[in-house]
Assembly symmetry: C2
Homo-oligomer: 565 residues x 2
């Protein structure tokens, strides 16, 4: 393509609202433009990258036998009412009424639509398993759209759905899909981890998120420094340490800790390390008060608490509620001397505590030399805390490190919950109706483009991996008014185009400085510069990512490019 | 693909709401499914066809240097208010509010969005002409969605927009686009005509519609039986006939025509042919009364009337209004003896009328032996009627025939109207701001799929043109329980797949009759049937469209297919 007639509106200035690199560079490089908050157009260069990412995804989906289809954005409210999500999805679900005042959702996801199709179309176990996928625009009215393509309100997803007559069959397809996702993100050149994730509200079973490692990621990943283990921080179990502390049990004493409320303040005041204090927090678990005790250097993981009680809701009690129950506010709670009916659970690390400190349930006082068993009872010990950096990896290999991640993909064993609610059954071998099992699998396609830019850029612009770049070669004629430059550039353009090279030709009447800056910004992997030595047939060939450059005669170009591309 | 694990839910019954063949066959063949009125899913087979049509369009768009991009469906109301279409588009424009109560349109078309992008991105005439296109879902809340993909509320369009610094440049790109559209519809195997169309409300200039000829089309095309001339019926000018009738002017007479109101009733009563009567209709042209006179066998074309007066609105007067103005109701109006201030225009054919009949502006009475000039005055004669079958073609070659057409494409010189309203200018060579000219160009992609089926089907199902078919070869194993059939079919499937043939393998445990019927319905061009002679390696090869069939040894298959595909 000739750059003079292609819509590539590069910008020198960083857009005011663009906080992260991918947002800045995709806007500055003329790849995308915002139309409304969280709503973007893909300009021609952005569209070319998007289509390359899509092609990789399509190939991997086809390889595992998934059927491509496409479902509508307009979805009748009735379908969403069948699963209960019309009410539960909240304000993120965009809604509209048609001219006859019928209610519609704009597809935020397509479980309801695909389940309704499969319910009508598939009647026998013989047609299962069946996996379908689509590339489709999704609409989610995010409260705070930001970071450009990272968190938008209208965005491109690849979503896939599988249907099964047994959980085993779901397991198998889940594994295939997992592998396909690994292939996809590897082919996109991304440094990523598949992490164990929370199966959330819809009652699913296994689920993994595919996280691109990046400082701008909104999630924290706990991963092993010596194995493949990685989990969303909420999901990583903490291994019980078998070592128990030794030492003589000293006498329990109450001490005044005036004005010391936080664990750190108390530890400093009493001159002991943070882990020699016990932290006690009052929770309401499905409405019932529970005192949760952890070591002072640990944080309660409320998802683990919720799972322990198989609870629907878990929330912190208010300070008024703790005062009413225990007679003290947040800074002085502890497990010693509690009313008989107070439930107490403790993190497993508390069990081996010796001569530690805790709140005395009296504002401004703490106990020292507290020892579990002797001084307080615990209804049960369990893994109740967030994993920390330095903890042993749950798989027994290495220790845990933290990283930030951008979620680009998600695979999910939904089980039978949607099929049950929507009455999607097949006849089994005995001719009996059986509720289907389902998996769902998503990739944020436009977000993946942003994640690629987060990992492939330098201070001058984007450094696209070759197979994802909008073009392979960027041809610059530094001065189109000089006949020998213009002629040579046109000759090279024609011959490379004819040879099937994806080439962008900067034929604009701009200054050399502008052309170089734009070229670095756009980030096409190979640049051919036609300049002063055009008369002799010599051009410069430069690799965007490494900066490596050579002078080369135009007759050698094609051979050299074939080596590099 | 194996049919056992592909979503192809064929139906024996014709869906109750499916009136036309394409709707029936696409649903019955498992290509599409309705989710809501006018809202469809493309199932895997439909998606495959859609993608092939898209690929043809993309290739032709790229060939003329158009840039692919993609714009969002969610469009802020502000943009539509700039062009005035937020109010003018009416209930077809779907609207919604986001969580902050900001108003959005769901893209029914993208002139506003692209003009806002180009306005910001393109500042110099040097970047023009610029043509962009997209494949995008469009939303239009049709009053009466029907005919399956023909008239939907959510559908796929390819829309293109070109921007220019001169009308000449627009002319050139319009011609290229016109040619590309001809290529596209020809490559889709369609019998179509490019017809001159109405440039409508937005003040555009030239415009052509691409019409697929079909009895189920909603438009009427007037075309020449001896040339390329074709126009939407509203747009075809009528050639003035130079022959003038001869005859002695008889004496004007008033006759009673009790209860005769229509032209036919009066002609029968007075025993003369229909064309010996004059028809007079009262219109309100921008609110002013005008009596429009045509021959009794002609119909007033209100678009021509509107154009004659360069009017904004043209509507028929009510019977009360005609009584108030002329003293008579609809059945007895005529141009004789009118008040002085009554405007009269007549179709050019009226000029040569001799001794004809017209209403006497007195209910139940007509004049006979009426002669223009002698008996009534006409302010102006003009071409005011619809063209008719048998009229001479406007280009002077042959005579006019009518056909029904499905509009699949539209090319339109918009001129500067959008750019003016949205302030989209470029600096010209002298550095002065200049309003851009624009063209817009649309193809109904999903409708094109339906149009193809209208032209390619027989009583048993669809007969896809080979390059648009979802697969090239349909392999049927008649009885999968017979080892030699299963083995041979599997062998053929593997070898053809390996050879790159797009093959669908009906490996289902269904009866032969079901397989044959489904295969005819789906309409894949070539069918290989593995049946009784499988043991000897012989299969049947049948062409779907012609019914031609041969027995062939499996070792000959690939060579034979290469000849046919």
């Amino acid at each position: 393509m000739r750059q003079s007639n292609m819509l590539i509106p590069t910008l020198k200035e960083v857009p005011a609202d663009a906080e992260i690199k991918s947002h800045q560079l995709l806007v500055r490089g003329g790849f995308i433009r915002q139309i409304a908050s969280g709503v973007y157009s893909f300009l021609p260069m952005g569209q070319r990258v998007l289509r390359k990412v899509e092609a990789i995804i399509r190939e991997e989906m086809d390889n595992i036998g998934a059927n491509e289809m496409v479902m509508p954005a307009m979805q009748p409210a009735e379908l969403w009412k069948e699963t209960g999500r019309w009410n539960n999805f909240g304000p993120e679900l965009m809604r509209l009424n048609d001219r006859h005042d019928r209610e519609f959702a704009l597809g935020a996801t397509h479980e309801e639509v695909i389940t309704s199709i499969i319910r009508d179309a598939v009647k026998s176990y013989k047609r299962l398993p069946l996996t379908v996928y689509q590339f489709q625009t999704k609409f989610r009215d995010e409260k705070r759209p930001r970071f450009g393509l990272m968190r938008g309100r209208e965005f491109v997803m690849k979503d896939a759905y599988s249907f099964h007559d047994s959980f085993d069959s779901l397991d198998q397809v889940y594994q295939k899909m997992y592998q396909a996702y690994e292939n996809i993100f590897r082919r996109c050149g991304l440094n990523f981890r598949a992490v164990i994730a929370d199966s959330g509200a819809m009652g699913g079973k296994d689920t993994h998120e595919f996280m691109v490692l990046s400082e701008v990621g909104e999630d924290t990943i706990a991963y092993s420094d010596s194995s493949e283990y990685a989990a969303n921080i909420e999901m990583a179990p903490v291994t019980a340490t078998s070592t128990s502390e030794q030492g003589e049990l000293k006498e329990l004493k109450e001490v005044a800790t005036p004005g010391k409320r936080t664990m750190q303040e108390v530890a400093d005041f009493l001159e002991h390390p943070l882990d020699k204090g016990l932290k006690a927090l009052m929770f309401k678990v499905d409405g019932n008060l529970v005192l949760v005790v952890t070591r002072g250097d640990h944080e309660v993981n409320d998802i683990k608490l919720k799972n322990l009680y198989k609870a629907e809701t878990v929330e912190l009690a208010t300070e008024e509620e703790t005062k009413a129950a225990l007679g003290a506010g947040f800074g002085s709670l502890g497990p010693v001397g509690l009313p008989d009916d107070m439930k107490v659970v403790a993190d497993q690390a508390v069990k081996s505590a010796v001569n530690v400190t805790c709140g005395a349930n009296k504002d401004g006082y703490h106990y020292v030399n507290v020892n579990p068993g002797r001084d307080f009872k615990v209804d049960s010990y369990a893994d109740l805390r967030f994993i920390q950096q330095g903890d042993p990896s749950p798989d027994g290999k290495g220790t845990i490190q933290f990283a930030r991640g951008i979620e680009v993909g998600h695979v999910f064993k939904l089980g039978s919950i949607y099929a049950e609610r929507m009455g999607a059954t097949v006849l089994d071998e005995q001719g009996k109706a059986k509720t289907m099992n389902m998996g769902c699998y998503g990739i944020g396609v436009s977000r993946t483009v942003a994640a690629i830019v987060e990992q492939y850029h330098d201070e001058r612009g984007i450094t696209w991996p070759a197979h994802l770049a909008p073009f392979q070669v960027h041809l610059l004629a530094l001065n189109m008014k000089k006949t020998e430059q213009k002629q040579l550039a046109e000759k090279i353009y024609d011959s490379l185009k004819t040879a099937g090279v994806e080439i962008l030709f900067d034929d604009r009447a701009e200054r050399a400085g502008v052309k170089f800056a734009d070229s670095d910004l756009i980030g096409i992997p190979l640049r051919i510069t036609v300049g002063k030595r055009a008369g002799e047939g010599y051009v410069e060939l430069k690799q965007r990512a490494t900066g490596e450059q050579t002078e080369i005669h135009e007759s050698e170009l094609l051979r050299q490019l074939n080596n590099l591309v």
